[in-house]
């Protein structure tokens, strides 16, 4: 095990984050605040409570997931794409470090950033709405599992992408719609029966539902199903990463 190597990459990634702290931290906080102002206060004041929770508070887990997912994916994707793009990847490929260790370092760094970001958003939210976290451990578990799984997905995208457009396309065209349509801003029970069934095909629904349950004990799907879904997603990402490692896809061909 090359601990120094993993640590070197992890630290490098965190330093890159620190250099662009404003972009990486302040801008998601600002956009989340805007969501609260617009949806929580302006529009939310006209919406009665959802399943016994005020609409502003109901929004928090969904908004948190929105940031967590998009930031995990784009952070991890950019982290591995950039060295490929400028060519500094040569050093990582020629180092006595295993592919799994490289993944640990990049995904670990991206997930750490997302988790910090999530906690900051949570703190920001608590300024606007009364927060209640019924199951703090489950909340942290969901936070970490989601950050790790979507950072893995981002890593895969970063390996796959061979231009900047591809790097942007998945977060923009896949992740964001899935999060918006996965019940970030509404409860699935508000939808007509047909769309309720369609929404069940959206994997992000299970994440948001489980996460919201850890706050308010209300959920669209049973909590066990949520945990199973995220585990499945994590396993799928790990399988793809393993395949990339085996074939040297886009890295060593």
């Amino acid at each position: 095990m090359n601990f120094h190597g993993v640590w070197a990459i992890y630290r490098f990634e965190m330093a890159r984050w620190a250099r662009t702290l404003f972009q990486s931290l302040v801008s998601p906080v600002i956009s989340t605040t805007l969501y609260f102002v617009v949806f929580g206060s302006a529009i939310g004041s006209r919406i009665s409570s959802v399943e016994g929770v005020s609409y502003g508070a109901f929004l928090v887990p969904g908004l948190l997931m929105l940031s967590l997912l998009t930031q995990s994916v784009s952070n991890a994707a950019f982290g591995i794409y950039f060295p490929k793009f400028v060519g500094t990847i040569y050093e990582i490929l020629s180092a006595p470090i295993s592919f799994i260790e490289v993944v640990m370092a990049y995904v670990g760094a991206a997930a750490s950033k997302s988790i910090v970001l999530g906690l900051i958003i949570l703190a920001t939210a608590s300024l606007f709405v009364p927060l209640r976290i019924a199951h703090p451990f489950a909340m942290i578990l969901f936070l970490v599992l989601t950050a790790v799984s979507f950072s893995l997905l981002g890593f895969i995208i970063g390996i796959w992408a061979d231009n900047f457009e591809k790097l942007q396309i998945v977060p923009l065209l896949v992740i964001t719609p899935l999060v918006f349509l996965g019940g970030s801003f509404y409860s699935v029970s508000m939808l007509p029966a047909f769309w309720q069934k369609v929404t069940l095909l959206n994997p992000v629904l299970y994440l948001i539902s489980g996460f919201r349950w850890s706050f308010y004990e209300i959920s669209d799907v049973p909590i066990g199903v949520s945990i199973a879904m995220i585990s499945l997603f994590l396993a799928a990402c790990l399988a793809i990463v393993w395949w990339i490692f085996k074939t040297g896809y886009r890295l060593k061909s």
């Binding site: 090359n2 601990f3 120094h4 490098f12 890159r16 400028v86 490929l93 180092a95 006595p96 061909s253």
Partner: protein
């Protein structure tokens, strides 16, 4: 003693069907400087990339100090430092930051004294806190060398280390490479500059179209393939070569002052004695006699042309 690097029948066919290496075998001994010469696209960089773990080989094997580069990659890669051809650096990092990163990446605990020594040897010490993007091209090249040396490698690959580097810096770099060799580092360099190989290498390998055409001691290569030329400066200019000399492959200079005669040093009969007696019979006297050895460059060009 077994060779330090043993490349055996290495083949690389890229996904697009391009065959970059066609069964290359080469062994490199500890402590030597070997130069790999070849035109663009000959397969030099592919070969280095496979040895360093950047590209997967299609077939064949590479062993370093007896360890297979794929099975025992941790052992082999820890021994190797690579200076890539392109100036690929993390623009926003400081010099010190990037060499520290390299050392850590190769699995070693920090050792500021070593990094200081490396940076001083490469005249980068006063730039240690500068961001890489503020450095000149020559300095960036040296940063890449410093990164490759950060983990105290036994083997150093220099992929066209002096491409685009000015003459004085090139001389400095050669001196650095010699110092490294003195300290026991085995050096493999690729280059376009024949001058560089001639100046530095113990052995020279010529690669063309994915094949090693020849690997020889530099002196041996030049002796074997070297052509020499005798140039005679005449006392009286000739308007044309006399018929008696037509049996020799001679060239007369335009002003008629010089006759030159090319011969192969390794040939049984060089024909020099005959030529000189023939000249004496014709009463052609000369004031000066000069011989010229062909350079590695001439040898290289003739090798690549023969292979084509």
């Amino acid at each position: 003693m077994a060779a330090l690097i043993e490349i055996d029948n290495l083949t690389k066919i890229y996904d697009n069907g391009f065959t970059a290496l066609k069964g290359v075998s080469l062994s490199i001994d500890k402590g030597e400087i070997i130069a790999l010469l070849g035109p663009n696209g000959a397969g030099k960089t592919t070969m280095i990339s496979i040895v360093c773990g950047i590209v997967n080989p299609t077939s064949g094997s590479v062993k370093i100090a007896g360890n297979d580069i794929i099975r025992d990659y941790r052992k082999t890669r820890a021994m190797i430092g690579l200076v890539p051809q392109e100036l690929t650096t993390d623009a926003f990092e400081s010099v010190w930051g990037t060499v520290s990163f390299s050392r850590g990446l190769f699995g070693l605990p920090p050792k500021p004294a070593h990094l200081e020594k490396v940076l001083k040897a490469l005249s980068l010490w006063d730039k240690k806190d500068s961001k890489i993007m503020t450095l000149s091209g020559g300095m960036k090249r040296r940063v890449l060398i410093a990164k490759a040396l950060a983990h105290e490698p036994d083997i150093l690959f220099l992929d066209e280390p002096t491409a685009g580097v000015d003459v004085s810096l090139r001389k400095d770099m050669w001196a650095t490479v010699r110092d490294l060799r003195e300290s026991g580092v085995t050096i493999i360099l690729t280059t376009h500059y024949i001058e560089e190989a001639e100046e530095m290498a113990d052995r020279v390998g010529v690669i063309n179209n994915g094949e090693i055409i020849v690997v020889e001691e530099k002196a041996e290569l030049m002796r074997k393939l070297g052509k020499k030329e005798v140039v005679l400066t005449l006392n009286e200019p000739l308007s044309a070569l006399p018929d008696a000399l037509s049996g020799f492959d001679l060239t007369l200079s335009e002003d008629g002052q010089q006759i030159s005669y090319a011969y192969v040093t390794t040939a049984k009969r060089t024909g020099i004695t005959k030529l000189l007696s023939a000249l004496a019979e014709e009463d052609i006297t000369f004031s000066d006699l000069d011989t010229k050895q062909s350079s590695l460059e001439d040898i290289f060009v003739s090798l690549v042309e023969d292979a084509a």
